[in-house]
């Protein structure tokens, strides 16, 4: 399991936003949004901030860090 988890899918669905719309706002491909939602890709800090901004939440509300040893 990855150390960085996110709530992108849940937050995006709540805003009735498509993956493509989020991708366009953040400036990434739809495939990257899919990879992030599936927790297969941890974005850079800059992209993480852009995602949070696009979803209208803070970084902490969107991304959570769980150290590997603590699970």
């Amino acid at each position: 399991m990855p150390a960085i988890r996110n709530r992108i899918r849940e937050l995006r669905a709540a805003r009735e936003m498509t993956q493509q719309q989020l991708a366009d706002q953040v400036g990434v491909t739809r495939q990257t949004v899919i990879a992030m939602e599936q927790d297969k890709y941890s974005p850079s800090l800059e992209t993480a901030f852009k995602v949070a901004l696009a979803l209208g939440v803070t970084l902490e509300q969107c991304f959570q860090y769980e150290p590997r040893g603590k699970r």
């Binding site: 990434v28 491909t29 739809r30 495939q31 990257t32 899919i34 990879a35 890709y41 992209t47």
Partner: protein
């Protein structure tokens, strides 16, 4: 299977590499400088044509940080393959030269040298592209 612009481009690259380079492996006994030059020219032309077709039919041509990360992974795999093959190739050439199968003052040595190193480049290039495709399919 939804493919991004970069993925489509990689599949086209792999296709071009396999089509053009397969002649290198299939017809390896007739290697010559002209054949290597023709293959390099063919791969450039084929790549330009295929990439132009993909660009024409791709509405969204965005590339992002994940694309760059995957590209780097591909180059790393290609470099490691090339470095490994280089050591093996040099050892092979040394073996042939030392044990008299391929005298260094023989005209064939240059061609043999060219063939071996071109083969390494071909394999490393294919490994690079294949690694990028596999990494895309695994999401990362």
């Amino acid at each position: 299977m939804a493919l991004s612009y970069r993925e489509k481009s990689l599949y086209a690259s792999l296709l071009a590499e396999l089509v053009v380079y397969s002649s290198y492996f299939v017809l390896r006994r007739q290697n010559s400088v002209d054949k290597v030059a023709a293959m390099i020219l063919a791969i450039i032309v084929l790549q330009i044509v295929l990439q132009a077709i993909i660009a024409l039919f791709s509405r969204n041509r965005v590339t992002d940080e994940r694309d760059r990360l995957i590209e780097l992974r591909g180059y790393r795999a290609g470099y490691l393959t090339f470095a490994t093959l280089m050591v093996m190739g040099l050892a092979l050439l040394w073996f042939h030269a030392t044990f008299g199968h391929l005298p260094i003052n023989n005209g064939k040595f240059g061609l043999h040298f060219l063939s071996v190193f071109f083969g390494m480049l071909v394999i490393a290039d294919i490994v690079k592209t294949a690694t990028q495709i596999v990494t895309y399919r695994r999401a990362l």
